[in-house]
Amino acid sequence: MLEYAGSQRAGLQRHREGIALGNVVRSLDWVLVAGVIGLVAVGLWAISGVTRFDVPGSPQHYLQRQIAYAVIGGFALLIGIVIDPDVYRRYWRPIFIGTIGLIAIVLLAGKAARGSTRWINVGFFTFQPSEFGKLLFVLAIAGYITERARGVSTWRSTLRTVSFGLIPVALVFIQPDLGTALVYSAALAAMLFVCGTPWRQLTVLGSVAVLAIVAVLWIGPAVGVSFLKPYQTHRLTCFIHPSQCTVDARYNLEQSIAAVGSGQGNGRGVNNATQTRLNFLPEHGTDFVFASYSEQRGFIGASLLLALYLLVLWRGLRIVTVARDLYSAIVAGGIVVALLFQIFVNVGMTMGIAPITGIPLPFVSVGGSSMIANLAAMGVLLAIYARGRASRAASRRR
């Protein structure tokens, strides 16, 4: 069992409502705030260079949008800070149903974008529910786990949680959005870990997951059942066996690696970054934004971005330990691991150390849903930290 602020004291239901908003603001994690602001700023800087030649004659087309999304996301972050996380725990059922509903709407009525359906068009804005789903999924599953906190170490409860969590995962998977389904799974695993599931059970679950992947990738095709779309199989097996890649599947990877490598120490600058500018690198504003950014800004720029991610994730992990109660701790763990997983898969894919999946790079990739959802998640993290600190201070005073 992990230690979190609340558990060291006997009662969980203590002084929850008594924490004033003023205290919350005073006990914010300003290092995390600074890290997030830095990430958004570097992300906008990256987009301003990466997308400069994407819309002829309008070099700031994407930058302007992205700034607007960041501003909206800033408000989402503030709202996240203001709302007491306990509200999510109490209302986890509607949140869960809402998450399923959103994903189902996409399945039913969404429009196809690049071979898969992830978008809903709401007039002025195409909205990508699975991005918001990441946060909502964590909030809901944590609620489910907390309700059954007593029997947390039994096989029965663990399996129930896993099967419950796999419903949205499956829905996202058949969209099909393999990458996001993997992000959900990573978050689910993290939440099981944080809530105190015994090692034995985690190990067994991990082995089952590995077996499932093996089945999907090798045994399934061998016996003529394919769970994955051909392009997904190609991308994944291509990562494991580069020599068997189709030309198209290898093309993206090679161009991406060449883009990252050609950035060298200082970067090639916006005008002479030919991989990006001459469109050798596809999707350089979204999935491959890290490669494009590394080509333009070099090792110095890329390291700056990675260091900011590290800072934010480190502060995030600390929040798991200062959380006021079990629910907050699980939520923080889920958010941080989901973020870490996305960063690793996206950055790793551009450098050939992770398979190619369409996961956006948090705070950088062009796209409103991702930016707003990630900032909102940061808001929830800050809220958890602030209330953990405030309740600790309050009990110390007593």
């Binding site: 992990l2 230690e3 819309v55 002829p56 004659g57 309008s58 993290a190 870990f193 690696i257 060449a258 883009a259 990252v260 490598g261 050609s262 950035g263 060298q264 120490g265 090639r268 600058g269 005008n271 002479n272 030919t274 991989q275 500018r277 001459l278 469109n279 050798f280 590394s294 080509e295 070099g298 090792f299 890329a302 390291s303 990675l306 991610y309 590290l310 994730l313 480190w314 992990l317 798991v320 330990t321 763990g333 941080v336 691991v337 870490l340 960063i343 690793f344 950055v347 790793g348 450098m351 050939g352 150390i353």
Partner: protein, 638 residues
Amino acid sequence: MGILGFALLAVFAALFLRLWALQVLAGQKYVNQAQANSFRILRQPAPRGLLLDRTGIPLVTNIPTTAIELWPSDLPRVYNDRYAELARLAKVARIPLYEIARGIKARQKSNDLVTPVTIRENASGPMQKYLAERASQFPGVTMSRSWIRHYPYQDLGAQALGYVGAITEPELKRLGKSYDLNDQIGQAGAESTYDTYLRGVAGASKLHVDNFGRPLGTAQLATLPKPGNSVRLTLSLKLQEAAEKALQYGIGLAQSNGEWAARGGAIVALDPRDGSILAMASSPTYKPSVYAGHVTTRELGSQGLTTKTASAQNYPALDRATDATYPPGSVFKPVTALAAMQEHLIAPYENLPCTGTYQSPNDRSHHTFHNWDPNVNQAMDLPTALAYSCDTYFYQLGDDFYSLPGNRGQPLQKWARIFGFGHLTGSDVSPEVPGLVPTIGWRKQNFSKEKDPCCWQVDELWKPGNSIQLAIGQGDLLVTPLQMARFYALIANGGYLVTPHLLDDVQTSTGTLVQMPQLPSPRQVPVDPAALAIVRQGLLEGTHATFGTSYPVFGQFPVSIAGKTGTAEKLITLPGYTGLKSQSWWCGYGPTEDAKIVVCAVIENGGHGGTAAAPAAAQVFGAFFHVHVKQATSTHSD
């Protein structure tokens, strides 16, 4: 928690190490790989839309050319090799080396080495052959298809049609979206006004190159260029040709009358019913073809299109129909007549004396204003005064306007503005100037202590002489020929102010009509139809009564034409000469009862209206009504 922390560090360690390995350890390898990416995207310029006359005859077309392009990033790295290649290229393309260097420097300055520099828009056959056969000696040189403007009628309508040139940095900044550094855009006239219709969308083709940037094989079309839309103008090719010939004829006539300074002018022909511009000539003119393909200062200079040569050639780029202002002189008298009737200063058939001179009882300086005919002495009504163009009759009207009490405002100026003077016509011909209708307020503002240190205290006052001069279209009044044509259209069509325009319709290259903005429809002005009828009578007498000022030109014309001469004095400064010269005007319309065309002609420094402008205008009417007009003789009149 320690486990998650460990996972975090492990993930980031992996990412950093991989990044280090790719960028720092193996960076150079990937730079080479990126540079060796084996194709280049070539722009495929779209053919620009045609400019057509009202019947669909192409006035401006395109011819396909092959452009020589240079990719600075693919030039040899060694200075001597680079220099040698550029020197050879300069020789082959017959472009000075410094021009090529300037193009490359501009790319370097904007830190952009992956956009090609266009060396020559129109490479000749031998040039193409030479470069294609020796491609290996010219790394970084590619050839692409392009288009340049072609002018089948040479200098016809040059100022109205305009020309096309490379987009400039400020233009690119201003236009932004969808324009490109290599674009050609309309720089004047209809080419500029309707650029958005005329310009197409460039396509792209892929060209395989080796790692030195030398082309392998020919370019493959990737996206097709989309040709621009054709713009049909209201101009009539036949009438435009006639107007330009008539203008030369008028200038020649003036010179043979001894008006040595007559070197330019303008003719505007309008449809008075809707404001369509049927012809718009401006002289001197130039050949817009000097802007097509490779532009050289020498060629521009030979056409008077550089700042240095413009004055010697009397400013051929200036569109005198819309962009130049002149004092109108007597062609303005119908404005005074209408204003006086509207303000009840005169009854149409009330007689006023027409004498050789006029002195204003209001004028304390007792200046004598002269009539163009010093020997006349008879009473005249308004139509006769218009037809005979009696100055003293209108001097008295000007004096009456001056004597109006202050609370009546400045009605003559008010009516001039209502009739379209002193502001832009709103036409689609660019550029356009508003001209000037002088008012009491304008004088006060214009003659300030700073601008007019000696005499501002006198000059800033509105004096009787100012009203008297204004009444006969002299003094500070300035109008464009287009404004004047629009005013005569108003007389002819019964009081409607039209918007002169060149655009008829726009169609795609396959002939589908394109939606275009609606022009404002002719606007009725609050002028008494009876007063207009009186003026029309005066203008008809001007061409048909034996005493009419343009009777010798139009008296025997097979179609009934009504109109007015004007001889406006203007202080001109030429090398070695400063003095007053008469601007020769004639404006009118025909057929009198159901006018289908208005013609306004101005011959700069051309002397009397009846001797230069009127015969020129008659030639335009002749072409319009398909009648042969014998080259007219002239009388001295105003």
